[in-house]
């Protein structure tokens, strides 16, 4: 099975303290560390597991600047076979649709049975997967947390729906799936793994190679503002001894629908 996984380099929310810059147009990026978007990492792991079971190859693609090369290498250290780096200045200010168009062009240059994206990105809007499927006119399922290969044309996929129930569907390939975290346990990639793929050649493509013009990827959604919301009312502190607190907490959770 030929699988393409779309990945993105994002500021690592777990390792950063996010602050807004002084003119309020973006976050303060000087002290940030970046990593591969968490959802994408699960998608790559899933792709590798499918490949190991039924054969084929896994290609990872990213749209991003020079630095994005590092997430491709990380995912290749994980086990992806090939990387494609889409890098064009015009794409730096684009929106979700622009990214989806670029990815569509990449998909059309190859021949893929399955295209995976993360369900969303730490800094994103959870839109590229759906747009990509629509642009390609392919079947799409989102928030997938289970994949079973039925035959070389069909997949059985699952997703968790609100309230914790599991829904299982059948989908025919080629198709696009957006992957939810928890679908697997992504393997660890150490410095050693990354060093092993440091020398691997990753082809870089710009808009012209993809057959796209700057106008086609110009953003149609424009960001206006960026701010940290005002702090709301203080938290409620439960008082009493351990048992009373536990009792009150259970009541509260029931009242708010946290437990049934």
């Amino acid at each position: 099975m030929e699988i393409l996984v779309c990945v993105k380099r994002v500021p690592d929310t777990a390792e950063n303290e996010i602050e807004i810059n002084s003119d309020g147009t973006d976050i303060e990026r000087d002290d940030l560390v970046y990593s591969v978007n968490e959802w994408d990492n699960y998608a790559v792991e899933e792709a590798i597991q499918i490949r190991d079971k039924v054969g084929g190859s896994v290609t990872v693609v990213t749209v991003g600047d020079e630095e994005s090369d590092e997430v491709l290498r990380r995912e290749m250290a994980m086990g992806a076979d090939k990387g494609i780096h889409v890098n064009d200045e015009a794409l730096e200010s684009t929106d979700g649709l622009g990214i989806a168009k670029a990815l569509k062009a990449v998909v059309e240059k190859g021949s893929y049975d399955l295209i995976l994206t993360g369900a969303q990105a730490d800094d994103g809007c959870a839109q590229v997967g759906g747009m990509l499927a629509a642009l390609l006119d392919l079947p799409y399922a989102s928030l997938v947390n289970y994949i079973e290969v039925v035959d070389d044309k069909t997949l059985k996929i699952g997703r968790e729906i609100e309230g914790g129930s599991q829904e299982i569907s059948e989908i025919s390939m080629p198709c696009v799936l957006s992957i939810q975290t928890g679908i697997n346990e992504p393997r660890y990639v150490g410095i050693r793994g990354i060093r092993k793929v440091a020398g691997v050649d990753i082809p870089e493509m710009d808009l012209s190679e993809l057959g796209l013009s700057e106008e086609e990827v110009a953003p149609r959604v424009k960001r206006l503002d960026y701010f940290v919301p005002e702090m709301g009312e203080g938290a409620e502190i439960l008082e009493g001894d351990m048992e009373e607190i536990a009792e009150k907490l259970v009541e509260l959770l029931k009242a708010k629908g946290g437990i049934k």
């Binding site: 777990a14 390792e15 002290d31 393997r187 660890y188 150490g190 793994g193």
Partner: protein
């Protein structure tokens, strides 16, 4: 000497001379034994190198202490004494057994050197040795079979109980003692009857009893008993010899080698592969232990040598709290695996990955590397290096639980497991008392003493107190000191012990550069893990002191003086951190510091010093989510309560965290208080 009985060599059995049998049995026995041993050596030959042929003097000293002297045995008194008796008996009787084998075909053989007076002393000793061994076997059998200690039990998933094998071997040993004594006694009885000079039998020995019983027996019976016990001894002896390499009694042969080739440097972790430099690491195809052959030959010898005594498991904190790790079975499972893959008869089977077949991932992550198992092992088996090697293999294959991936990624990116920003590493200095400042050192600012803080103490709010206490103590001592600030990264102590060697190397290189550029001539740290890393894992840096050593030195110099403890209800106990105690042998220094505070009442927990019970582990272990029934910290706090202590003093940030958690979750809050040594010192310090 005139003989009342026909010697074995001259007797005729089925028309064949007894000497023929007496030659054939040892020949076959030794042949079979040599073959079995050659087969057992195959896995060792396929295993990884391990240079243990150095430091002969030190090794011989250890051999005398731990093998001949049975140094570790009395830690379990009853079992220890029984073993020492059997061991000493074996040493004495080995000479007799060899003589006996030769006498079968060379009746007048006398062991070289045992002809005259020495021989008489030896004969006297060996009869008592046989008797004591026999008694020890009976006591051991009763103990093993009836009052079985808890630690000998075999959990269902690890297979069958080992009692049968133990009793069978005790039976073999007892038989050897009986046959040997019967052989001597039948001859003595016959000599006596014939009015010939009989061999002297020391009173109350087995042989002496037999001789009394056989005094009036007919000569024919005595001749039969003499010949029969001879061959019974011969057969049992060689059967036993060939049986040894099939189970836990292999140690009878291997322990002498195991002890000689023991690990000499405590606290150190073996390199990824011996003979490969750090620069060459990138060229290695595979890291760590994934298959049996990835262990070093010495580690396989450890598996052969395990006596199945269960002392490691009995002391293992992971096992105590119900984590899926029992050090004893880490070894036994490996030994069973070797025996299965490399059978004495039949084909060697192909290699299989160890994780997923004999070991589980959680089992290998459960270890806190506290070293309690190694401290206890009578044959000095190693565990930490094997665990680290297995983890290196798992890290290389990407098998790392998500709970550990996060801190490892943070360490890669930020140099601390919390993922906090580098520039905030020294933020704890902002809330020091008025007038106290800590310079951040580097090329521009040089100091004499560098305070290496490490990640936990730098970033954890509670642990910041330790850092601030150290600074205030050093300020009182008018020390010329500073910290590295954001130039410091995690010491990598746990990174290495959790198998992420390349990340450790990166952290180490960075820190060595930063330390050297500080110009310091001494490093002080309050974290035993950092202490151990800087001391054992780093090279080319100034000498390192733990804060307890520094404080004791300053007390002796008269620079630190303390107010007395005025509350008479306070009872202190000191908890030995694994990496200060067992791994660095600093047991007395912190105790001396405590005892220099006037009026401080101190008690010892039952498990203290080299038997200290791990708090739950430090560094990355704080992030790991183990499968367990209770926390080590909870167990430890109850141990303190048992001896009536209401103040637990630790000398390690992680012990502080884990034991404070233990106090909160066991209902001892308000009754027991945990504090770091530095906090107590600061509180009692007289500041002029």
């Amino acid at each position: 000497m005139e003989m009342a009985l026909t010697p074995v060599a001259k007797i005729s059995l089925l028309g064949i001379s007894g000497a023929v049998f007496a030659v054939l049995i040892p020949l076959i026995g030794i042949g079979a034994f040599a073959y079995i041993m050659a087969r057992r050596l195959i896995p060792l030959a396929k295993a990884q190198p391990d240079p243990r042929f150095d430091r002969v003097g030190e090794r011989l000293k250890g051999l005398v202490k731990y093998w001949l002297g049975q140094y570790k045995h009395p830690r379990y008194l009853v079992a220890g004494i029984i073993h020492i008796v059997i061991f000493a008996g074996f040493l004495i009787l080995s000479v007799r057994s060899i003589s006996l084998v030769i006498i079968g075909f060379k009746p007048d053989f006398v062991f070289p050197g045992l002809g005259g007076f020495l021989g008489s002393i030896y004969d006297f000793l060996k009869d008592y040795a046989a008797t004591f061994v026999f008694i020890a076997c009976i006591v051991a059998a009763i103990r093993r079979g009836i009052f079985t200690p808890e630690r000998y039990k075999v959990p269902e998933k690890y297979g069958k109980d080992h009692t049968f094998e133990a009793l069978f071997v005790l039976g073999l040993i007892s038989s050897l003692m009986i046959f040997e004594s019967l052989y001597s006694a039948s001859l003595v009885a016959a000599q006596y009857q014939a009015g010939l000079h009989p061999e002297y039998l020391p009173p109350l020995t087995i042989a002496w009893f037999f001789a009394k019983i056989l005094k009036g027996a007919p000569r024919g019976l005595l001749q039969f008993l003499n010949t029969a016990s001879y061959f019974a001894h011969d057969l049992t002896f060689f059967f036993f010899l060939c049986f040894l390499p099939f189970g836990k009694h292999f140690h009878v042969i291997t322990s002498i080698f195991n002890v000689y080739f023991r690990k000499l440097d405590r606290g150190k972790v073996k390199p990824v592969r011996w003979g490969i430099t750090e620069e060459e690491l990138d060229e290695l195809e595979s890291f760590g232990v994934k298959y049996l052959e990835d262990f070093t030959w010495k580690h396989l010898l450890d598996f052969y040598t395990c006596v199945d005594c269960g002392r490691c498991a009995d002391n293992c904190p992971a096992n105590t709290v119900g984590r899926p790790l029992i050090p004893r079975f880490l070894t036994i499972k490996a030994r069973d695996h070797i025996f299965k893959r490399f059978p004495v008869v039949g084909e060697i089977s192909p290699r299989e990955p160890l994780i997923g077949t004999i070991y589980e991932e959680d089992e290998i992550w459960s270890c806190t590397t506290c070293g309690a198992c190694e401290e206890e092992c009578p044959v000095l088996n190693e565990y930490i290096d094997k665990i680290v090697d297995l983890r290196r293999g798992m890290v290389d294959e990407g098998m790392v639980p998500q709970s550990l991936q996060k801190p490892l990624n943070a360490l890669t990116k930020r140099g601390n497991p919390y993922g906090k920003m580098e520039k905030k590493r020294a933020d704890w200095t902002k809330s020091l008392p008025e007038g106290i400042k800590v310079p951040v050192v580097g090329k521009k600012k040089q100091v004499e003493t560098l305070f290496f803080v490490d990640s936990a103490t730098s970033y954890d709010e509670r642990l910041n107190e330790i850092a601030r206490a150290v600074v205030q103590i050093m300020t009182v001592c008018e020390e010329d000191f500073g910290i590295l600030g954001k130039a410091e990264k995690d010491s990598g102590h746990e990174v290495r012990r959790f198998g992420e060697e390349m990340l450790f190397q990166t952290l180490k290189e960075h820190n060595i550069d930063a330390i050297l550029s500080s110009g310091a001539s001494r490093i002080v740290t309050a974290d035993p893990h950092a202490y151990n890393a800087l001391k054992k894992d780093y090279e080319g840096i100034p000498p390192v002191e733990h804060i307890s050593e520094y404080i004791l030195r300053k007390i002796k110099e008269g620079r630190l003086r303390f107010k007395p403890i005025d509350d008479p209800t306070l009872v202190f106990t000191y908890h030995d951190p694994c990496y200060l105690g067992r791994h660095n042998l600093l047991y007395d220094v912190p105790r001396q510091v405590l005892d220099s505070i006037p009026g401080l009442k101190r008690v010892e927990m039952e498990r203290c010093r080299d038997r200290s019970f791990c708090c739950g582990g430090g560094g990355l272990m704080l992030f790991y989510e183990p499968v367990e029934e209770q926390r080590m910290g909870q167990v430890r706090v109850r141990m303190a309560d048992e001896v009536g202590a209401n103040r637990i003093v630790v000398a390690c940030p992680f012990c502080l965290v884990n034991l404070e958690d233990g106090v909160k979750t066991t209902g001892f809050e308000g009754k027991i208080q945990v504090m770091d040594l530095t906090e107590l010192i600061l509180k009692q310090l007289i500041i002029e």
